[in-house]
Structure formats: structure tokens, C-alpha cells
């Protein structure tokens, strides 16, 4: 049963959602620029098809409009936590590959990594607001990936950034859904426990 929200909680959620939307919007734009720079810097073909990369959360979702608010937050959080790890790996590989040679790309990667971390934190705030337990992160994290060739690393990076770009678009849409007031109770739809 959906309980009516206190007005202050509703305001806080709306505020968090608007800020989250702006964060995600900026992230989307920066990821798009990063993707262009990455493709050019790594000498890749922008239209290359990359097979689904293991460990990269897919943004593709069925019945997106039927998801509850909690589902949206949890799926987003899991995704951005994964991207935090993946981008950190890419940054590491970047530094190994090029050292100082392309500080620009490294800086852009680091900037996006920062935004991904900030957004993950923002999602935790939203979950806290719903008095939802925040799923813990694995202590040791996933096992380190097998050593890939340089070319494989580049393709993997392409797959990561492409999927992140889709997620950034999806997150804006997810937060807009979350921000919609429900007509009956005034609470956002789907955030209450399911009966």
C-alpha cells in the first residue's frame, strides 16, 4: 500500500530528481564528446559493431515504461557502479599505453569517471530517501580482467563508452519518470513497496 509522503520528502525527491536530471544531462553530453575523441584517438571506425562486452551493463531494457521507481534506481545504481570500475580500468590502460602522449583523452576520461561516481552517489541519496537499503558493493570487486591485446582493449573501451552513452540518456528518462507525481497519493508512482 502506498503511504502518502510528507510534503518535505516530496519536495526533497523532486529536488534530487531535478539535480539528478541535470547531472545526467551533462554526463550525457560529456560522454558523447568523449566517445568522439576516443574513436578518433584510438583510430577506430565509428560504425564498427562491437559484440556485447562481458561485464558492461547493457542499457537495453524491455517494458521500460512499466518499471517501478525502485527498480529504476537500483538498475541505474548497479550500472554506474560497474562503469566506475570499468572507466578506472580504462584510465589505467590509457596511462600505460600512452603515458603523457595524450593527456587530453586521459583528462576527459577522468572527468567522466568523476561524473559517474557523483551520479552513483546521487542515486544512493535518492534510494536513501525511499528508506530503501542501499545494496552493498562487493568488497573485493570483480576479478581483474584477463590481459587483453591493445586492439582488444580499444574495442572494449568503445563498447564501454557506447553503453555508457545509452545509459546517460536512459538515466535522464528514468529520473523524469521518478519525478512524475502520482495523481492519487501525491507520491511518485512505484516508489512504495509493492503489495
Amino acid at each position: 500500500m502506498a503511504a502518502a509522503e510528507s510534503p518535505s520528502a516530496a519536495l526533497r525527491r523532486r529536488d534530487l530528481c531535478s539535480r539528478g536530471i541535470r547531472l545526467a544531462g551533462k554526463m550525457r553530453a560529456d560522454v558523447a564528446d568523449l566517445l568522439d575523441a576516443y574513436v578518433e584517438q584510438q583510430g577506430l571506425d565509428a560504425s564498427a559493431s562491437v559484440a556485447a562486452v562481458e561485464g558492461v551493463p547493457l542499457a537495453a531494457v524491455e517494458r521500460w515504461d512499466e518499471q517501478t521507481g525502485t527498480q529504476r534506481l537500483l538498475e541505474n545504481l548497479a550500472a554506474y557502479r560497474a562503469f566506475r570500475t570499468l572507466l578506472a580500468q580504462m584510465l589505467e590502460e590509457q596511462r600505460e599505453q600512452l603515458g603523457e602522449a595524450d593527456a587530453g583523452l586521459g583528462r576527459a576520461l577522468a572527468a567522466v569517471l568523476l561524473q559517474v561516481s557523483a551520479f552513483a552517489y546521487h542515486l544512493e541519496e535518492l534510494l536513501r530517501l525511499e528508506s530503501r537499503g542501499i545494496p552493498g558493493e562487493e568488497e573485493d570487486g570483480p576479478p581483474p580482467p584477463p590481459r587483453l591485446s591493445l586492439f582488444e582493449q580499444k574495442l572494449r573501451g568503445l563498447g564501454v563508452l557506447r553503453e555508457l552513452a545509452q545509459w546517460a540518456v536512459r538515466s535522464v528518462r528514468d529520473l523524469r519518470q521518478l519525478a512524475k507525481p502520482s495523481p492519487a497519493t501525491g507520491a511518485a508512482p512505484g516508489l512504495a513497496e509493492s503489495p
Binding site: S49, A60, E62, W64
Partner: protein, 228 residues
């Protein structure tokens, strides 16, 4: 017996009068008008380098009895050229539609077959009653990085042709124009106009997927546009 015969523009067509021998005496008519003997080779009717105007009903009668021995409808046309295909989502995130046409007419009936593949999955494109040559698909997944591949094949009695489109989910999004666009004068302010409009009614969820609008205007006496 009566049937339909399809031939290419420019082809040479030989019609036999059913099972009659080559040397039988026959009369051919085209749409009821007798055909001159110069077009005959024995009882065969020879039409050289046929054009569209020669489409019609051809009948063959036995010489003296005037029994109808053979009848056919000749349809002169061309095999299809590569069709023109476009796909668009004006109701994102619900789905998209594809529509097609032939760049030049074939003058004979054509059938169209469309296939839509998303990754490895086959999707069904439901044909619209109106307009024809259009079908629509509902999105099963959203935010997918996997491309869609649409192949349209057009076939008629004289040949076939096809075209393929490959695109991302976002690349084909194009909303319909705004509706109820109204410009009203502002009372007591002749240098101002109040412009109002609505979201296109085909756009299902403007809250989650808001649209941006751009307005330009100019007095009729000037050529330059101004932008808001």
C-alpha cells in the same frame, strides 16, 4: 482459356492461338479491334518492341467459325527499380514506422515484403491499412545499442529488387510538427505577437521525453528571419 501475360517494355512478344496449328487460319483482335495480318506469322501474333499502349485483351478466333480459341490479357510493364525506403519514429518511445515507394512506376502489380531484424531477433512490422506501403513496429527494447536492419523486397512478374536500411534506435526519432500554432496580436502593443502551440498529439510522453521548439518570424516586407 483466359489468363494474364506480363511482358517487359521493349520486348518482342509471340502469342500462339492456343492449340491451333501454325498454318491455321485465324483472326486476332486487340481490345475488340481486328489486328492487321502484317503482324501475323502463320497463326502466331508477333508484337515487336512492345510499349505500354499495347496492354490490353488479345483474342484469337478460328477463321471461318469465329470460335474463340484463345484469350489473354497482356500487361506491359517493367521490373521494379530499387525501392525507396524510410523509417521514422514520430511516437518515441512507443515504436517506429517504415514507409516505401518505387521511384518509377512498373505499370503492373507489385508485392512488397519487409523484414526487420534487431540483432538476431526477427521483428514483425504490422502493415497499416492506410496508407498502404507502410508498416509499424512496437519497440520491445529501449536504449539498445544494437542496430536495426530493415530490408524491403519488391517483386512483380518481371523481376525483383530490394533495399536495406540500418540504423540506431535514436537515429530515426523525428517528432511530428507542433499543432495548433496560433499567432495573435497583443492588445495595445502593435509591435508584439503572442504565439502559442501544442505538442504534436502523436508524441506520447512529452514529460519524460520533452520536445524543444524553435521559432522564427519575419514581417512580410523583409526577407530576413529573426529567431526567438
Amino acid at each position: 482459356d483466359s489468363h494474364i501475360q506480363y511482358e517487359r517494355v521493349g520486348a518482342d512478344v509471340t502469342m500462339k492461338c492456343g492449340s491451333m496449328d501454325w498454318d491455321a487460319a485465324v483472326t486476332w483482335t486487340a481490345n475488340g479491334t481486328d489486328i492487321d495480318e502484317s503482324h501475323l506469322n502463320g497463326s502466331y501474333l508477333i508484337l515487336k518492341n512492345v510499349d505500354l499502349s499495347q496492354s490490353g485483351q488479345y483474342s484469337c478466333y478460328e477463321g471461318s467459325s469465329w470460335h474463340l480459341k484463345y484469350q489473354t490479357t497482356l500487361r506491359v510493364g517493367t521490373p521494379p527499380k530499387e525501392p525507396v525506403l524510410m523509417c521514422r519514429s514520430n511516437n518515441y518511445p512507443k515504436g517506429f514506422y517504415c514507409s516505401w515507394h518505387l521511384p518509377t512506376p512498373t505499370y503492373i502489380p507489385n508485392s512488397f515484403n519487409i523484414s526487420v531484424i534487431h540483432g538476431t531477433k526477427d521483428m514483425v512490422c504490422e502493415k497499416d491499412a492506410v496508407p498502404k506501403n507502410r508498416c509499424h513496429i512496437r519497440y520491445i527494447q529501449l536504449f539498445s545499442t544494437v542496430k536495426y536492419k530493415v530490408t524491403l523486397t519488391v517483386t512483380n512478374a518481371l523481376g525483383k529488387n530490394f533495399t536495406t536500411l540500418t540504423f540506431d534506435e535514436f537515429a530515426i526519432v523525428k517528432p511530428d510538427p507542433p499543432e495548433s500554432v496560433v499567432a495573435k496580436p497583443v492588445p495595445n502593443n502593435p509591435r508584439r505577437l503572442e504565439v502559442s502551440w501544442q505538442n504534436p498529439s502523436s508524441w506520447p510522453d512529452p514529460e519524460s521525453f520533452p520536445l524543444k521548439f524553435f521559432l522564427r518570424y519575419r514581417p512580410l516586407i523583409l526577407d530576413q528571419w529573426q529567431h526567438v
